[in-house]
């Protein structure tokens, strides 16, 4: 069997929250928080993986760790068989050529003093690729994302949100990466533009065999484009599996809560709403037992004390819950 494009195992990303001196004074033996914990995922070529979760659940941290913008503490990230953990910033350069990232803020991720042409051709300059006609490349990439050629002379502040997002996509595509990490690719766009972006991503996946890791809190996006998905909470995957299977047979109450919070355009549709009380707990003081028990409507005594083992619910579909929802529930 060949290596998957991306294989992550037991990944842990920690951040220091106190200076060493402060920690010593407070007698705090562990002045860190785990922003990503025990995460494992496999992504095959030409597939899309969806990451969902509330703000602060560690989705973006996980993505940034994959390309070395946040240092991973332990675990393993293998991209095309190469181990990425333990590399220095410089050793990520070739990796960053093959994994492109689209950031959350479409206009904010474009260097404000550069024209669209310079922005799109930036990857060529960074990686010292000189035997290309930059003008032709600009035209090719702009066409790929359905933007007119005269936009090449514009500056980021002159672009609309949708245009800026597409420039971001064009830039990500410049060096034919094998994986694109898309952080909230539809945030801040109106529905029609969202649709265009998603269709564009679907086309790239199909035609060019590009893989996607999509980070979003919009379940419709995940359902629309991703083959596999994971639900993140406090840095862990609470439930993961093939998208269709997770949607059809969700086992974790949190997945259900996320889905039921999502509006359904059909007013007659029957809905079982699961409402969550309270806020996401602090990473500094993780809850005991099942970390979701503070907000879970079905929590029982056992949940407060015992951390749930990963359980299987079909092919490659796993979840962390003592009292999963019945398999045939919505």
């Amino acid at each position: 069997m060949t290596d998957p494009l991306l294989a992550v195992e037991d990944l842990r990303v920690r951040f220091r929250i106190k200076t060493p001196l402060r920690a010593l004074l407070d007698r705090d033996p562990d002045p860190f928080i785990d922003a990503v914990l025990n995460v494992g995922l496999t992504l095959e070529k030409g597939q899309a993986y969806g990451l969902v979760g509330e703000s602060g659940s560690g989705k973006t941290t996980l993505a940034r760790a994959l390309i070395g913008l946040n240092p991973a503490h332990s675990g393993s990230i293998r991209f095309e068989g190469q181990e990425l953990i333990g590399r220095k910033d410089r050793q990520f350069k070739t990796i960053r050529r093959n994994i492109a990232m689209m950031f959350q803020d479409p206009a904010g991720s474009l260097s404000p003093r550069l024209t669209v042409r310079s922005l799109i051709t930036e990857p060529f300059k960074i990686h010292g690729i000189e035997n290309v006609d930059l003008k032709a490349e600009t035209a090719r990439l702009l066409e790929m994302v359905n933007l007119g050629p005269d936009i090449a002379g514009w500056y980021p502040h002159q672009l609309s949100g949708g245009q800026a997002r597409r420039v971001g996509v064009a830039r990500a595509l410049a060096l034919n990466p094998r994986l694109i990490i898309a952080d909230e690719p539809t945030a801040g766009l109106d529905v029609s533009v969202q649709g265009e972006i998603l269709n564009l991503m679907g086309r790239l996946k199909r035609d060019l065999g590009v893989s996607f890791l999509i980070i979003t809190h919009n379940l419709a996006v995940v359902r629309h484009v991703s083959d596999r998905m994971a639900v993140m909470y406090l840095g862990r995957f609470l439930e993961q599996g093939p998208t269709d299977d997770v949607f059809a047979h969700m086992r974790h109450p949190y997945t259900h809560a996320l889905l039921s919070a999502h509006l359904n355009p059909d007013p007659d549709a029957e809905r079982v709403r699961v409402e969550l009380a309270g806020d996401v707990p602090s990473l500094i003081r993780r809850p005991t037992g099942c970390e979701f028990h503070t907000r879970c409507p079905f929590a029982r005594e056992r949940c407060r004390e015992e951390f749930p083992e990963a359980a299987e619910a079909g092919a490659e579909h796993t979840y962390l819950c003592h009292f999963p929802l019945a398999a045939d529930q919505p």
Partner: protein
């Protein structure tokens, strides 16, 4: 954004800014004074009617006349010619000192703002230490060691002003470094020099140039002050400061020398300050009147 703005290139915006500058009375005054000063400095040898070093002992401390537009000093040298040549010294010191300061401030400020925390702390300590020397005290110390000269003046100015620029640049760099476009550049594999040179520097250099243009008069006065105290350029080189110093000694005999040395100093200071303030208003969109 208006669609009319979309097609404008870099040159069009430069022309537009110039037009705004000329329309602002303060900016126009500044532009004229600065042009006058720079023009005088550049064409000094052609403008000076006499040799600024030629002694004429019979004609000491003469009042203004057709022969000597601003009179003569205690050795009978033509004050007007000395003032014109003094513009060269003033401009030379100002431009060299300010460019070296900008360069030094950029290197240290970018290092402090983008580098690791310990480097930031160390550089801030250096900046604060340098800032805590009074300029004159520092100048006296340096002169005592290496002797007075034009280069000493420049050195003193650069060392005492680099911390100011360094701090501004450090703060600006820190404000930009966590922006998403810097993260995006890193994610594409851009190295530190590309990020600093192509993505951070262009975003901080504009306001900085304006601060620099407003600092030129300060530098001119420091040079004049040091020369006045005898710590700057060596006689007989004409500098506005040394002309003032000469005039000061003979102010009971004739006021003309002090006036001749002081007026260009005042006009230069005003010119650069006006220009700097007007430019700042134009480039700071929040202060701009036309939008």
């Amino acid at each position: 954004m208006s669609s009319g703005n979309r097609q404008t290139g870099k040159w069009a915006s430069v022309v537009y800014s110039l037009r705004l500058l000329v329309r602002d009375p303060m900016g126009l005054a500044g532009l004229i004074l600065v042009t006058l000063m720079v023009g005088t400095a550049v064409f000094a040898p052609y403008l000076a009617p006499r040799d600024p070093f030629a002694l004429d002992v019979m004609n000491r401390l003469a009042p203004p006349s057709q022969d000597h537009l601003m009179g003569t000093d205690q050795m009978g040298r033509d004050t007007f010619s000395r003032v014109v040549m003094g513009a060269r010294i003033a401009l030379k010191v100002a431009l060299t000192a300010i460019s070296l300061t900008l360069l030094g401030g950029l290197v240290l400020g970018l290092a402090a703002g983008y580098g690791p925390k310990w480097l930031d702390n160390f550089l801030l300590l250096v900046f604060d230490t340098l800032r805590s020397f009074p300029t004159i005290m520092f100048a006296l110390a340096v002169v005592a060691v290496v002797g007075p000269s034009l280069n000493t003046v420049i050195l003193v100015i650069v060392v005492t002003t680099v911390p100011v620029y360094g701090r501004i640049i450090r703060t600006q760099t820190q404000a930009i470094r966590y922006n998403e476009f810097i993260q995006a550049e890193r994610a594409m594999g851009a190295g530190i020099f590309r990020i600093l040179g192509v993505h951070i520097m262009p975003n901080i250099i504009g306001p900085l140039l304006i601060v620099a243009s407003m600092d030129i008069p300060v530098v001119v006065t420091i040079e004049a002050g040091l020369s006045f105290l005898g710590l700057g350029v060596r006689p007989p080189t004409p500098s506005w400061g040394s002309i003032l110093n000469d005039g000061y000694s003979f102010i009971r005999n004739t006021p003309w020398i002090v006036i001749a040395g002081g007026v260009p100093l005042i006009l230069t200071t005003l010119g650069f300050t006006f220009l700097g303030e007007s430019l700042r208003d134009i480039f700071d969109p929040k202060l701009r009147k036309d939008i």
